[in-house]
Every structure is written in structure tokens, then in C-alpha cells.
Symmetry: C2
Subunit: 130 residues, 2 copies
Amino acid sequence: MSSSLLLRAIAEPRRQRILRLLRDGELTAGAIAADADVTFGAISQHLRVLKEAGLVENRREGRHQIYRARSEALGPLAAVLQSMWEDRLGILKGLAEWEERGKRNRDRRRARSGSSAKTGAARGSRRTAR
Amino acid sequence: MSSSLLLRAIAEPRRQRILRLLRDGELTAGAIAADADVTFGAISQHLRVLKEAGLVENRREGRHQIYRARSEALGPLAAVLQSMWEDRLGILKGLAEWEERGKRNRDRRRARSGSSAKTGAARGSRRTAR
DNA sequence: TCGTTACTTTAGTCTGTGCTAAACTATTGC
DNA sequence: GCAATAGTTTAGCACAGACTAAAGTAACGA
């Protein structure tokens, strides 16, 4: 039912980063927010998502909220994140080449459709940095 | 760089289902589409995403596109999906209780805000089956 | 060459969600 | 009580992405 909730939760780079931070120990919400370049509110929301996925837990201490990872909750996902953090994701073995190929194909496709009837110019490119 | 691409790809229920189907062997795009209650186009797009994440590959055979999983690409994610399919995700041990708690909290929050000034009624419920 | 089958791609809509700003809540110190 | 600190929550915006309908493409058969 909610395994997707979990996957969704860790599929977000910002939240991955938060988990990463919490891997080495507890942190206050403020410390976590300080690490990021977005508002406190945004981080608070991410923390909520992580919490509702069971991936972190928190307790109050004075005026601080202290968060920590519930690594038990990760299960097999621990290995995934571990690989991602250790970098050199096993997943990526042989993937680079695949992406290369995929990109080439895409470009080829683009090129071909560009040479066909309709417009060709004034088409793609609504790419906006985030 | 693209580990997130992978996680994003498998975080989608529809795509998980497709991978599930392909676990037992190759299938034509049509067969995969037949399994789902959305248009062929939608499935084709999902297949594209999976392909660009390196999770499936395809070949043409007559007028059929035959897809198969690249399970090597899954790496540690294999265990995750495996657990999800085998159901009874290890992750879920102790999570049920957590979600229970989360839900209760959310309801409590909702109730509280409902009893306050603004509306309370005419709020949620734009739930549409997918 | 025309029609059919089996797709893929595109344009456009609609919902989800990450973000900001601002309001709100809770704890502490004066 | 009042102000400051440390957060959470809400409203609203903008972009991502899942979906549909329709157009495009590619292989095959007549």
C-alpha cells in the first residue's frame, strides 16, 4: 500500500540529502535548514514528508526539534542510498553507456523530425533551470 | 548524476507494474498496454522513461516492439522491488504503526483547523480515481 | 499504393508538489 | 506580559509530469 510513499519520499534529491545528513547523527531542524539553500518552511515540509514515510522521527528539546533517521525503516532501500552516497552506484555500471545511446537516439530523432515538413523551428526548448 | 533518474523512474506505480510484468519475460508494448487502463500513448511514454533510465530495452520484431527488463540495471533496487512484489515489504515492518500514528496526527490537525475560523467544509475532496 | 496493425510522438489539460512569503505556535528569557 | 528564537503551517505560484486525443511513422498484406 504505502511502499510507494516510501519510494516517493526518497526519490527527491533534497530529501535524500536530508537523510544523508541524518545518517551521521541527530540534527535540529535549524541545522538541516542551514545546510540547504531554501527557506526553513520548505525544509520543514520535507521533514514532514520523511516523517510521514516513517523515515525520520523527531522530538522536542527546548525550542529545538531534533530529527533523527529511522534507518530500520529503510530496509532494502538502505543499500540503494548507501550506494548513492558512497557514490559509484552499482546501478550505474553499464548505465552510462546506455544513457549515451539513449541521448544519441533522441538527438537523431530530433534531427530527423526537424528535417520533415512541419515547422521544425519554433518547436522545442522550454527548458527552464530550477 | 542520474541515480535520481532511476529512483524517479521506479517511484511511479504504473512503471513499477510494468517492470513487474517484464520480470517474467519479454512482452510487446501492446501486451503491456493491454494490462493497463490507460491509453497506448501513456504506456508508450512510461516505457520511454524506463528505457531512458536504462531499466528496460526494446527491439523491433515485425510490427511489434518487444520490451524486456534490464535487471542488471536495478542493482540494489532489485531487492526493493522484489520485496514490494513479494509483498510484505521488509520496510513495512513497524511502518504500519507509524503511518497509523501519522494519520491520527494529521486527522487531529485537520480537526483542529476545521474547528477554527475559515470554512472547514468545502475544502478537501478533489479525489479522482486514477 | 492503399488500408490495417502496432506502435510513438505531440499538443494540450489537469493534478501533484516544491518553493516562497507570511502568518501562526511554542518555548524561553526579561 | 512582551520580545526573541525556533520552528510549523498556509496560501498561492510555477513547474513537472501523467494523461488523452489526435497526428505521425513503420511494417505488413492485398
